[in-house]
């Protein structure tokens, strides 16, 4: 494991810090513009194209405009918390980027240094810790506004972010197993032979899903679901305070994309056809590969937003707790077991692959069996519905007279005959109707024989 030692002179540290800071702000401005342009393309629009070349300065101008806007603070706000929340959000967004490696050793003004601000043995843990603190910004913003919509948005996002952080953290375990380190530069170096995206694909998939939830982006943008909660946690924020939340959201997008690049796409290591060229992985070129990979993820974010509707909150939480977490736990066990088998029992990779193939067959057969069973259940439901349709049409079944549907036939019974029947079998009708109602549909009211006779 090649871990760099960080003993940069102070001026270099300041230079790197400035570069990261300015780079992140520029990246945010660029990403906002890029997102608007791409989504516009997907929607047959043009997007911002007025300010600067191709409208590139649009986001900058929006920032300036926000700075000149009136600051409206609701009178119900808890002032100190209300002020501190955007600061926490933005600061933590910047901080998480400190351990992301952009490139190998380069020489800056004669000093050999890695293209990375800093690194230590628990770098990834540090990113997770900072991301957790970032949640505070959102929760406090929602809570301190003293208003219903932000409160609901804040609660939603706290539950959402911690739930998805679990799945996200679990997806890292397999990477650590293979890399044997938690240092980001170490993980990149360990991917020199092969990217973890290839050998640990399920981890990547789990992480990629969780990162969308973690950054509150569509289709998981429930905390700020404008269709329901108006603006979510930042409804009551205006001017630059709002801009800080916006900045934080986009920086977080860049950060999770960069983390995904680092852990699964080999960080700054050149992709295959380029890696044949000797100069691909030295000097400043890797910075470009890194940037392209990060942009790939960001493009995926934008694509998702342009395509998918939003999930409902319970569906979203169910997905996190009942799909992502068990899946990642299972995957951890599989990876660990495979590694143990290889380490302890000196099994060759070939045999291991064979084993994996067998496992795959088992999974496929199992899912097929499940599929058949669920299909059978569905068919039974359809049959039940059909049987329901075959029953003689009772216009009063729902509690209010209805006309016959196509296929049903209304047979006229005189009121007197009907009254006689109802009186004799009042209890039977009442119980006979109930099981017919489908279980998950709300039952308006059970059949009331009395009402039937009056109508």
């Amino acid at each position: 494991m090649s871990e760099y030692t960080f003993n940069d002179p102070w001026w270099l540290i300041i230079l790197k810090v400035l570069a990261i800071f300015v780079g992140l702000v520029l990246m945010t401005l660029f990403t906002i513009w890029w997102e608007r342009r791409v989504v516009s393309r997907m929607q047959n629009r043009i997007g911002p194209n007025r300010v600067g070349p191709f409208g590139l300065l649009q986001s900058l101008m929006d920032g300036f405009k926000l700075g000149l806007k009136e600051e409206i603070i609701p009178k119900t706000a808890h002032l100190a918390v209300y002020w501190i929340a955007p600061v926490i959000s933005a600061t933590m967004a910047f901080l998480a980027f400190a351990v992301i490696p952009f490139g190998p050793m380069v020489s800056i003004f004669g000093v050999e240094t890695p293209l990375q601000l800093t690194d230590f043995p628990v770098s990834v843990l540090y990113v997770l810790a900072i991301a957790s603190i970032g949640v505070y910004g959102i929760v406090l913003a929602g809570w301190s506004s003293g208003s219903t919509y932000p409160l609901l948005g804040g609660l939603r996002s706290s539950a959402q972010m911690i739930s998805y952080e679990l799945a996200m953290s679990m997806s890292f375990v397999a990477v650590f197993l293979y890399a044997g380190t938690m240092s980001t530069s170490g993980i990149v170096a360990a991917q020199e032979p092969i990217w973890y995206a290839v050998i640990l694909l399920p981890s990547l998939l789990i992480y990629a899903t969780a990162m969308v939830g973690e950054t509150n982006r569509a289709p998981f943008d429930l905390p700020e679901a404008e269709g329901e909660l108006v603006g979510g946690f930042h409804t009551e924020y205006s001017s630059l305070k709002f801009a800080l939340f916006f900045l934080a959201e986009y920086i977080n997008m860049v950060t999770v994309s960069a983390l995904a690049t680092t852990l699964f796409l080999g960080g700054w290591i050149a992709p295959w056809p380029l890696s044949l060229w000797d100069g691909a992985n030295v000097g400043w070129w890797p910075l470009l590969w890194w940037f392209v990979k990060v942009q790939l993820f960001i493009f995926a974010f934008i694509w998702l937003r342009g395509t998918l509707p939003r999930l409902r909150y319970d569906q979203f939480m169910r997905f996190g707790w009942k799909v992502l977490i068990p899946a990642s736990l299972l995957w951890i066990v599989i990876v660990a077991a495979a590694r143990v088998v290889r380490n302890e029992f000196s099994v060759t990779t070939q045999e291991l692959l064979l084993l994996g193939g067998g496992l795959l067959v088992v999974i496929i057969v199992g899912s097929w069996v499940l599929q058949v069973r669920s299909e059978r259940r569905e068919r039974a439901q359809v049959e039940a519905a059909k049987a329901e349709m075959d029953k003689p049409f009772d216009p009063y079944a729902g509690g209010y007279p209805v006309p016959p549907l196509p296929g049903q036939e209304f047979t006229y019974t005189s009121r007197r005959a009907k009254a006689a029947v109802v009186e004799g079998t009042a209890t039977r009708t009442a119980t006979a109707v109930l099981p017919g109602e489908s279980a998950d549909a709300p039952v308006p009211s059970t059949s009331d024989p009395e009402e039937g006779t009056h109508a």
Binding site: T148, P219, G227, E228, L229, L308, P309, R310, D314, D440
Partner: protein, 456 residues
């Protein structure tokens, strides 16, 4: 009465202004501001001590997904809605009252602004009513009826497109929204070409339609239809089998047939229960009995079913428009009776607007009787025999009925509309109670209320 007493009254009056229960006032740097509110929250829902987990929240009137200015008062327990009430009246414009002070023809200009997404339906419902009162229903020319049908069906498509677009946006599908509005633009272009206006065109008049449609325009409409068909497929492909969309809509906003009947629900909500109720079939007007189309139904009673019905109805509407174009035969588009077909001899001059020089010449310099006739008809309007009728048509949202009452004068005594949005909104509570906040949005989107029609 002493001066002291007077001043005391003044003081009381002043303080009454300050303490107005309905118009709270306060001073700002920009002047005095009155806040009108529909009631005091303290008296409506006192913050109860025992049940602090309940939150009462207003969704609307200024909310991104309440279709304009619908106000939903929700009682929440966490994410669950325990009680829903809707508040309407934020877009009340006094259209029905205003019509009592205008001639029968001018009424069209008002009704077209009620349900602003389906102006041609409002106009047609009203005009059918007036024509029935006049007893001229059979004298409406074929060409006029066919144009009415064509415009209404195009309007149905544009209205359903907005329903899908806004519904999609409210559930987070941004591209569906843009696509919906993009396709609607095609139809609005047709409206502009035919009537001169994109919305609120006051095109359908008692006795026929305002102006004829040219062969060029027919050709343009024919060109647009295939493009529309193709793009409708794009839009529906985005959502029809989308797992997330289905998760958000299947089984949501459940309202079965008996509830629909009890609440007087019509339109796609009623058809989503499986009942093929469509006034175009069950009580045809404007010659709908001569067109071939199918009534779209599903039996799911939910938001997804209504969505599918709207998609299906758009395709059916295209079919009807195609048939209408084929049925167009040359002929007059206004009734023979010169007293109803107001203004009597309107024609476009060589400059593309206004009355024809021949007509102006006739009424200004040749025939005094023609001038008087024109003047009386335009300023006073025609008389409608006393009586009352109810004429109903199938609007995109359901049964749109006009109850037109005349006392024999040149103005309506009363025109009341049974707007489908208004009746359908009743189902909000039945659909939403006990569901989640997000489901309320989906359910209201599936009702597709247009507040202009609800409040009138």
């Amino acid at each position: 009465m002493s001066t002291d007493n007077m001043s005391a009254e003044d003081v009381a009056y002043e303080s009454a202004i300050d303490d107005d229960a309905y118009a709270d006032s306060y001073d700002t740097s920009e002047g005095r501001v009155f806040t009108l509110s529909g009631g005091d929250w303290d008296t409506v829902t006192p913050p109860s001590e025992g049940e602090k987990e309940r939150i009462v929240v207003n969704m609307g009137p200024q909310h991104p997904s309440t279709h304009g200015v619908l106000r939903l008062i929700l009682e929440l327990e966490g994410e669950t809605v325990t009680e829903t009430r809707c508040g309407i009246g934020y877009l009340h414009t006094g259209i029905e009252k205003n019509m009592e002070y205008r001639t029968w023809t001018q009424g069209v200009t008002f009704v077209t602004r009620m349900d602003y997404l389906s102006p041609f339906f409002n106009e047609t419902a009203y005009c059918l009513g007036v024509e029935k009162l006049l007893g001229v229903t059979d004298e409406i020319t074929d060409r006029a009826s066919t144009i009415r049908v064509m415009m209404m069906e195009l309007n149905r498509i544009s209205s359903h497109l907005v329903a899908l677009a806004t519904g999609g946006m409210e559930l987070g599908a941004l591209t569906a929204m843009i696509f919906g509005f993009r396709e609607r633009e095609l139809i609005l272009d047709i409206f502009e070409m035919v009537t001169g206006l994109r919305m609120n065109s006051a095109y359908v008049r008692p006795g026929g339609v305002a102006q004829d449609i040219t062969d060029d325009q027919v050709a343009r409409i024919r060109e647009t239809l295939p493009l529309l068909k193709k793009r409708l497929k794009d839009t529906s492909d985005l959502l029809v089998d989308n797992a997330i969309w289905m998760g958000r809509t299947v089984g949501i906003g459940y309202l079965d047939l008996s509830s629909c009947m009890a609440l007087g629900i019509t339109g796609p909500i009623l058809r989503s229960t499986g009942l093929p109720h469509d006034l175009r079939k069950s009580q045809p007007y404007c010659g709908y009995e001569n067109y071939e189309f199918e009534v779209q139904t599903t039996d799911t009673c939910d938001v997804y079913g209504r969505f599918l019905i709207r998609v299906g109805e758009m395709h059916e509407s295209i079919k009807i428009v195609e048939q209408a174009l084929d049925r167009l035969r040359p002929g007059p588009v206004m009734i023979e009776d010169k007293k109803i077909g107001w203004p009597a001899r309107l024609s476009i001059g060589s400059d593309g607007q206004g009355n024809s020089p021949e007509h102006v010449k006739e009424i200004m310099s040749e025939s005094m009787e023609a001038l008087i006739h024109h003047f009386k008809l335009v300023t006073e309007g025609f008389r409608v025999p006393p009586g009352q009728v109810y004429s109903a048509i199938e609007s995109p949202r359901g049964e749109l009925g006009a109850h037109v009452v005349s006392t024999g004068g040149t103005r309506p005594y009363r025109v009341h509309f049974r707007d489908a949005s208004f009746n359908n909104l009743q189902s909000t509570a039945a659909m939403c109670d006990g569901s989640m906040v997000s489901d309320v949005i989906a359910a209201v989107a599936s009702i597709d209320p247009v507040m202009g029609g609800v409040d009138r």
